[in-house]
Symmetry: C2
Subunit: 246 residues, 2 copies
């Protein structure tokens, strides 16, 4: 499985992904599920993926090849040259549709699932930070002020804290903390989600990655939050009144 | 959907179930998912169910009819007369197998799911409090000191707090609080789980229900815990150090 969370805040975008993949319970590997593309000062995009790894790697390759071709002067539309983030989400969806057309029936003939979902976050010069959730059919939805975050993969364990804490006005340090706590709850409850993590932050208006960090098991920030959250949660629980039956 | 949680503690058994059922998103109803049988001082059992409601109601009816027949002097083995809780779990599993034999192929022919899971908790005179998880095939597992709780239905949102708090040594008032907090997290994150709740408590050695209570939306205990937990969680979150990117 996988757990990825993307937050769309007034202050920018926070993206956090785990790196564990499994083909069956006894075949666990580590693969990056986060990719990024940058034209610093003009635009920055981050993509996170869940689902069939061959499909999502294929999507990333299609997008990267288009960026290279466009950079080489070929007449190709790419997520680094298209006129809007909405169009970038369409191109991601088209790459997904291409992969699904190529492999879905073959995968299903062998009883394998071709489903995949993607979270695309990014900002271009002149636009706002935007966050999209792209489905297997290539269609997508966009995060709004009502629902300023998307999760893919094993999303349930880490949802309650996001529901309680995240609003568009949440500042980036608090959002990072919430993303880490959300990931920590998921790591504790589901073995198929695992360290290390990949973190990316795009501050609104910067059009570049403010941070792109791999978080290993001994990362001091993540360990501090994990430990402090555990203690704070225990304390919070002990403060709640007990129920005494008559 | 459904959320039911059963805790097997040294101090006894705590069982908590929601009451929301849905046949499609637009057909929401309220049905009890908790049943109990008692021979006060000799044994007490509580059963909670998730999955196909016609199947689980059928299981409960089969078990109750057997209890009535046994009480009327017929030669029938029932969960109130069988020699152990293990045998009671077998009888519950047999009732499940009977329902599955009768309806599964017919349900599947119409594209409906026949799956159901049950949590059975109980104690008889001379035995310990025991907790079982019974599957659609009628097979079952028993809670142990390593994993002293079972959840069925929409279990993920409410699992992190149980993972952190519940051990066999947890006293009943704390266990009730944990069950309420676990249910509260689930109610907040999943619309298909809903109030009112059904609560049952069997204290070790009493062989009767110490509590059997319906908890409505305005229940003072549940409201107090829900509000206090919300506040304590916010405070806990604010106490965790923020991550400041360089």
């Amino acid at each position: 499985m996988t757990y990825c969370v993307g937050l769309r805040l007034d202050a920018g975008l926070v993206m956090l992904a785990d790196t564990r993949t499994n083909a069956g319970l006894d075949n666990i590997s580590r693969f990056a599920k986060m990719s990024h593309w940058e034209a610093p000062g003009e635009r920055a995009l981050v993509l996170m993926s869940a689902g069939n790894l061959s499909i999502t790697q294929g999507v990333v390759t299609r997008l990267s090849v288009a960026c290279e071709r466009a950079a080489a002067g070929e007449e190709t539309e790419s997520i680094l040259t298209c006129p809007s983030m909405f169009r970038a989400a369409q191109l991601v969806g088209d790459a997904m549709a291409g992969e699904q057309r190529r492999y879905r029936s073959r995968l299903e003939a062998q009883g394998e699932a071709a489903d995949a979902t993607l979270i695309l976050g990014g900002q271009r010069a002149g636009g706002a930070p935007r966050l999209f959730l792209v489905y297997s059919a290539g269609n997508f939805i966009e995060a709004t002020a009502d629902t300023p975050f998307f999760q893919i993969g094993e999303h349930k364990y880490g949802k309650p804290i996001l529901d309680r804490v995240i609003t568009p006005a949440t500042p980036i340090p608090t959002a990072l903390k919430a993303a880490f706590v959300s990931m920590d709850s998921t790591l504790r409850s589901n073995l198929s989600v695992g360290l290390p993590l990949d973190l990316a932050v795009i501050r609104a208006g910067e059009m570049r990655l403010a941070a792109r960090r791999r978080i290993e098991a001994d990362d001091p920030d993540f360990s501090a939050i994990s430990t402090a959250w555990s203690e704070a949660l225990r304390e919070a629980f002990s403060e709640v009144p007990e129920v005494v039956l008559e």
